[in-house]
């Protein structure tokens, strides 16, 4: 047994979590993020964490990392110079997109960014048809000319996406071989390797994203691995958007799979917490300074989606397509809204009270920080109403000016509405809570789940402040606040498993599919999955393969993923798949059509390598917050003297402490309203429950 180290790079701080595999004891080190060279903070933070906890390099069993390098390269448009090779007639696919605009009425919207400028997009004479047959052979002379031109241009990577290559990859493989032979060392991404799935734009986009960020990711991970090796640490694992970690060579094969590394870590942390506490049904709720994220865990399982865009301008709305780059890889399904502690409250010209999406962020910050912010924020409303300390936060390190909060709310909200400051502050919280409740509803109610059957896992700096109010709104009976709520996401990195997803198109009606052909296709995916696990050197008993298929009614366009059992493919296995699909359709959309044929579109194989399980444990010796014994807190429009208790002083008995109370700790405040009660469990988790 040893220590695991997880590193999560945030906008302001780089969090390093350490976890003792034996005791479950966890710790966090925070160092300022170093945007010019993220690796520097990583090395600093790891050094600090190892010193603080007396960890020697030989006792470290795992180093895993959530990286923002891929996302940043896309957001800042600082990826590699790449070339794209397409079928004749289709070099513009990447720019033509799906032709819907992102905003219906914005006259001044920008065209979505294109990862490969038109001058570096090349066409090849060749064609494969919808049955996978070659109807135009590959033009070898044309290929020679394209290879020569790409050599001349000196690009850093090449993406290749030919029509129907997901049915027949012969032409793409030939192009790949020629490029690799002629230009050794140049990264080449073939769409049939990256994403053998139907829909040319989405496949091209995913392949182009890989080529665009691949070189950046490679040089970053290379430097980081060097530095870690210098500290005597084991080789690095990277967290994928699907919530699993994989090693560096796997990450470089599929760079698009590490896009939402950070948010995934938080959901994984919540899932592990649920496993430990015996709460298989959880909604994770992570609220920071600018956004709040929600995700659903049912029966201990995390939902993933393959309908995702990275970069570009806002895509919070669940419907309109944004201006980002679609990547069709599994990403943990989360709803994100622009609502955080720093979100600014304002009145629109019609007199309605709005909160966000603008945020005061860390700079200039809420008015009460006195760091230049003058507009009222959610944090200011919490200060005015006493949910947050009117004196100081962060264990006394951050002084709070409550008068500044009041002034900002009075000037911008209360006076124009003819309300008093407390009324206005309560209004701000109701509006922001409503928009966060919306995120919770998107992942629960809208997906056909009854929120009342779930517990709410609240973390992030602001999550536990708002969680009980949201639980009230959705009829949720229990809120769980983990240890170190502010840095809890980083704990997900040290508590996860190895995981990698493999998929390919298998286009057939379930009642007409040839079991032998399907068996063979699945076998190919499983072979790749098993090779990945073998390379990781995990014992056989800890490795698992799961299979599933994306299905829909034959004439629909959107698939639902249904589980496909293991073992040889038989008609019975396929019937079970169809039944599972009908049930999912019923639960998701409220109706099913069992008489209709079911179409399989993609088959999926997921390889999981279980790492030894761990249990989190709060540090019992955490010092009580340097707070006041009680303060005035507003409930239902009235100020009430309300006890303020340090987390460590919260009673552990089943009775707990009745609300209203405020529970304070170093990086977080938990609000327990009237009608709720709070206790500490044996691992140090805070359980806030509705009083019977």
């Amino acid at each position: 047994m040893g220590w695991r180290i997880g590193v999560d790079i945030g906008g302001t701080f780089t969090d390093v979590a350490v976890l003792d595999e034996e005791s479950g004891r966890a710790g966090i080190a925070k160092v300022p993020t170093t945007p010019r060279d993220f690796g520097a903070a990583v090395v600093d933070g790891i050094g600090a964490a190892m010193r603080d906890h007396g960890i020697g390099p030989e006792s470290v069993s795992l180093v895993s990392h959530a990286t923002t390098v891929v996302t940043n390269a896309l957001l800042e448009e600082k990826g590699a110079d790449i070339a794209l090779i397409a079928t004749e007639g289709f070099r513009d696919v990447l720019e033509l997109r799906r032709s819907a605009r992102a905003d219906l009425y914005d006259l001044f919207q920008n065209a979505p960014a294109v990862l490969v400028p038109r001058r570096r997009r090349f066409e090849l004479r060749e064609r494969i048809d919808a049955q996978g047959e070659v109807v135009t052979p590959l033009d070898e002379a044309g290929l020679d000319a394209v290879v020569a031109r790409i050599h001349e241009l000196g690009v850093e990577a090449v993406a290749v996406c030919l029509m129907f290559s997901f049915l027949n990859d012969a032409h793409e493989r030939r192009v790949g071989d020629r490029l690799r032979a002629a230009l050794p060392g140049l990264p080449v991404f073939l769409s049939s390797e990256v994403l053998p799935e139907i829909r040319e734009f989405e496949r091209t986009s995913t392949t182009a994203v890989c080529a665009y960020v691949g070189p950046v990711l490679a040089s970053y991970l290379d430097r980081l691995e060097g530095a870690l090796a210098g500290l005597g640490l084991p080789s690095l694992y990277v967290m994928g958007s699907n919530g699993g970690v994989f090693d560096v060579p796997e990450a470089l094969k599929m760079p698009a799979a590490v896009v939402e590394s950070g948010p995934a870590a938080g959901v994984i942390a919540a899932q592990r917490m649920g496993r430990q506490l015996g709460r298989p049904n959880l909604i994770s709720f992570d609220m920071g300074g600018t956004t709040a994220k929600a995700s659903l865990i049912e029966n201990g399982r995390i939902e993933t989606t393959s309908d995702y865009e990275v970069g570009g301008e806002g895509n919070v709305g669940r419907w309109l397509h944004g201006t980002g780059h679609p990547i069709r890889v599994p990403v943990i399904d989360l709803a994100e809204v622009s609502a955080g502690g720093g979100s600014i409250a304002w009145l629109d010209p019609g007199g309605a009270l709005r909160v966000g999406p603008q945020s005061a962020g860390a700079e200039p910050g809420p008015a009460c920080y006195r760091q230049g912010g003058a507009r009222p924020t959610v944090t200011d409303a919490n200060v005015v109403l006493g949910y947050l300390s009117r004196k100081h936060l962060l264990g006394g390190r951050l002084p709070i000016d409550a008068a500044a909060s009041e002034m900002a709310i009075r000037k911008h909200i209360a006076d124009p509405l003819g309300q008093d400051v407390a009324q206005a502050a309560a209004g701000i919280l109701r509006v922001v809570n409503n928009s966060m409740a919306e995120a919770l509803r998107i992942v629960s109610v809208e997906r056909g789940h009854d929120a009342r059957e779930f517990s709410l896992a609240a973390f992030g700096g602001a999550g536990p402040v708002h969680a009980a109010a949201l639980a009230e709104e959705l009829g949720i009976a229990e809120v769980i606040v983990p240890p170190i709520p502010g840095g809890f996401s980083a704990l997900g990195l040290v508590a996860t498993d190895l995981r990698r997803d493999y998929a390919r198109t298998f286009y057939a009606r379930i009642d007409e599919a040839d079991p032998r052909v399907l068996d063979q296709r699945l076998g190919e995916l499983e072979a790749a999955a098993r090779a990945m696990l073998r390379n990781a050197g995990l014992p056989e008993a800890d490795c698992a393969i799961e299979r599933s298929a994306d299905c829909r009614y034959a004439r629909q366009a959107y698939e639902l993923t249904a589980p496909l059992g293991l073992g040889p493919v038989t008609h019975a296995l396929l019937e079970a798949l169809a039944d599972a699909f009908h049930e999912r359709h019923l639960r998701t959309y409220g109706h099913k059509n069992p008489d209709e044929p079911v179409q399989m579109v993609n088959i999926r194989v997921t390889a999981t390598g279980r790492l030894p399980g761990v249990a989190f444990h709060a540090d019992a010796e955490a010092p009580p917050a340097a707070g006041e014994p009680q303060r005035e807190v507003w409930w239902f429009g009235e100020p009430v003297r309300c006890p303020v208790i340090a987390r460590g002083a919260l009673p552990a008995g089943a009775e707990g402490h009745p609300g209203p109370i405020i529970v304070e700790e170093m990086d977080c405040t938990t609000v327990v309203p009237p009608g709720w009660r709070a206790r500490r469990d044996e691992h140090g988790f805070i359980l806030v429950t509705r009083s019977a």
Binding site: E95, S99, L104, L107, A111, W319, H321, A352, L353, V431
Partner: protein
């Protein structure tokens, strides 16, 4: 500022957002369960929540084309039926009874709370076929009877039980009825979800409060709209333009016809008057007034409320009056045919409103976009399965140049926001091979800011002959530029027969595409903004490097001398020579300088 509402600001905001979330959720249910590609992949539908009188309280993030006509969809049911019960579902599509054109099928369900009517939910969805002689129901006919199955508001479910009489009659009159069944089921499922959500809201806030807030949401939109209108200077703008034709060959020979509009903005209201527009035409290019209004509303919203702060509902449009002579092409009277006008006329009007407002607010308008939905329908028998098929595609062109930036290439504009259908899905579903789908170089109108490029899409018809129809505009009237910008390239549609001869097609009507033929559809680019001579040479150089502009195009559309000097210019420098004037400015701006 005084609050415009009686409910407290926070409760109002919460319930308002919840009502819009209901409409958005309806979309999700519809898109993910519908069967026809035009709904599931292209997104041609709208959803709304209505009060008990049929006023629209909340519209989903929908197609602007339905802004003006969705409010009529439920009022038609309220007018037609007195006794409405829980579990009822109504269906209708008649443009002379609250519809827009026959393929747009409205499904309306009431929402009840404690036995009392609270309001309605409605999903309008474009069915790829609603009968008539032409697959896709896009034939060039001369009255509404030729356009397919007309449904006044009829009850398709009564008290939760399906009315088979009505259902069977509908499915006997449309092509590929199995697919239509799936679409109808999806529409009903979306309404059912919305009714449940509304009942839950009423349970939480009380039915009385919810009813009051439903009214206040409309008042709020009206107040917001009036506030924003005050920011526009008072005055008048006018514009005229002409359409390609109505698709009817014969004595009229598919002649062009004119549309004229004046916008009078005063205080917090605006009037748009179509006096002087041509009388209704023989073919289906006649717009019911609500379709005309959609074009007006879509453009006004982009100019006045570009940031999207006014929630779309019936209240938002109270300050706007749309007037058009009865029996004109922009206020069609029964039994004029209308199917093309739904998008072709509302596109046209949307672009013309920008043209007219250029006088008042030149920094808040855009040049003319593609101006057409560019519809191609193909029908026949799939040689691979022996089954009948109907394919309906809309192809996108340029989005107009703006006062401070270029247009956008190949994206939906104005009243439209449907998606293209992936080539690989088309070829899997239908017996065609798409041989190219690409940008059209030089199709973006030249200007200080260049128009967006149009596209070319080509289809090879495989093995068996296809019956095809096209519906397009701006083959004769290219998308105009603004403030001195040049027009974008017009549309062009042709068939290259197997022997290699090319047939140029009219902009509208059906045609035969024999096996082995290639259908070529060039969709318009958009107009430029500002004089071409003021184009930043660095941008022109980039356009040349990417082939958006060819060297020949640059010589023709910009300035040969300047182009030759390009290699020596610094980024940011302006061309020093002026382009020739397009024409003297007419008293009423017109899309076509040669038609004063």
């Amino acid at each position: 500022m005084a609050a415009a509402t009686k409910t407290d600001a926070a409760t109002f905001e919460v319930v308002k957002n919840s009502l819009y979330a209901v409409a958005a959720e309806m979309k999700v249910v519809l898109a993910k369960t519908a069967y026809s590609p035009i709904l599931k992949a292209a997104g041609d539908y709208s959803c709304g929540v209505f009060d008990d009188r049929g006023e629209m309280v909340a519209q989903g993030p929908d197609l602007p084309i339905h802004l003006g006509s969705m409010p009529d969809a439920v009022r038609a049911v309220v007018r037609a039926w007195e006794e409405i019960e829980p579990g009822d579902v109504f269906v209708h599509n008649d443009p002379y009874f609250g519809g827009s054109h026959l393929p747009d099928v409205n499904v309306v369900s009431p929402a009840f709370v404690d036995g009392a009517l609270l309001g309605f939910c409605c999903v309008r969805a474009h069915w790829p076929d609603i009968g008539s002689a032409t697959p896709g129901s896009y034939g060039a006919v001369t009255d509404i009877y030729g356009e397919g199955l007309r449904l006044p508001p009829v009850r398709i479910h009564r008290g939760g039980v399906v009315n088979r009489d009505v259902e069977d009659m509908i499915f006997a009159n449309v092509r590929t009825p199995d697919e239509r069944r799936g679409d109808l089921r999806a529409q009903i499922a979306a309404n059912r979800r919305a009714s449940e959500r509304l009942a839950a809201l009423a349970g939480k806030y009380g039915a009385g409060t919810l009813r009051r807030i439903m009214q206040e949401v409309m008042d709020y939109s009206e107040a917001m709209m009036r506030t924003l209108l005050r920011d526009i200077p008072d005055g008048e703008g006018a514009f005229e333009d002409f359409c390609d034709g109505d698709g009817i060959a014969g004595s009229h020979q598919d002649e062009t016809f004119d549309i004229r509009l004046r916008i009078i903005k005063q205080g917090d209201g605006v009037r748009v008057d179509f006096e002087g527009s041509d009388p209704q035409v023989a073919g289906p290019m006649n717009a019911p007034l609500s379709v005309t209004a959609s074009g007006v509303f879509a453009a006004l919203k982009m100019v006045i409320d570009s940031a999207g702060v006014v929630p779309p509902n019936s209240g938002a449009w109270r300050p706007v009056k749309v007037l058009a002579p009865e029996g004109s092409v922009v206020n069609a009277q029964y039994p004029a045919p209308v199917v093309y006008a739904n998008h072709e006329m509302s596109h046209r009007i949307c672009d013309m409103v920008f043209g007219a407002l250029a006088v008042l607010v030149p920094d808040r308008v855009m040049a003319c976009s593609q101006g057409t939905s560019a519809v191609l329908t193909l029908g026949g028998t799939d040689y691979r399965t022996g089954e009948r098929y109907v394919s309906y595609e809309t192809i996108k062109g340029g989005f107009g140049a703006r006062p401070d930036r270029d247009g956008i290439s190949a994206v939906a504009s104005g009243i439209s926001n449907t998606m293209n259908t992936p080539v690989e899905l088309i070829e899997m579903s239908f017996p065609v091979r798409v041989e190219s789908y690409e940008l059209r170089p030089d199709s973006g109108g030249a200007g200080r800011w260049r128009g967006g490029l149009g596209t070319r899409r080509t289809w090879r018809i495989l093995e068996r002959d296809a019956h095809a129809a096209v519906c397009c505009e701006r083959t004769k009237s290219p998308p105009f530029g603004i403030e001195g910008g040049a027009a974008g390239a017009p549309a062009r549609i042709s068939v290259v027969d197997p022997d290699g001869t090319e047939r140029l097609l009219n902009s509208k009507g059906s045609f035969e595409a024999p096996a082995g033929a290639l259908v070529v559809f060039d969709v318009p680019g958009s107009g430029g903004y500002g004089p071409p001579a003021e184009r930043d040479p660095a941008r022109l150089r980039e356009d040349l490097a990417d082939g958006y502009v060819t060297p020949e195009g640059a010589r023709r559309d910009y300035d040969a001398a300047a182009l030759d000097a390009l290699s020596g210019t610094r980024p940011g420098a302006r061309l020093s020579v002026r382009a020739p004037e397009l024409s003297a400015a007419p008293a009423v701006p017109s899309a076509d300088p040669h038609r004063p």
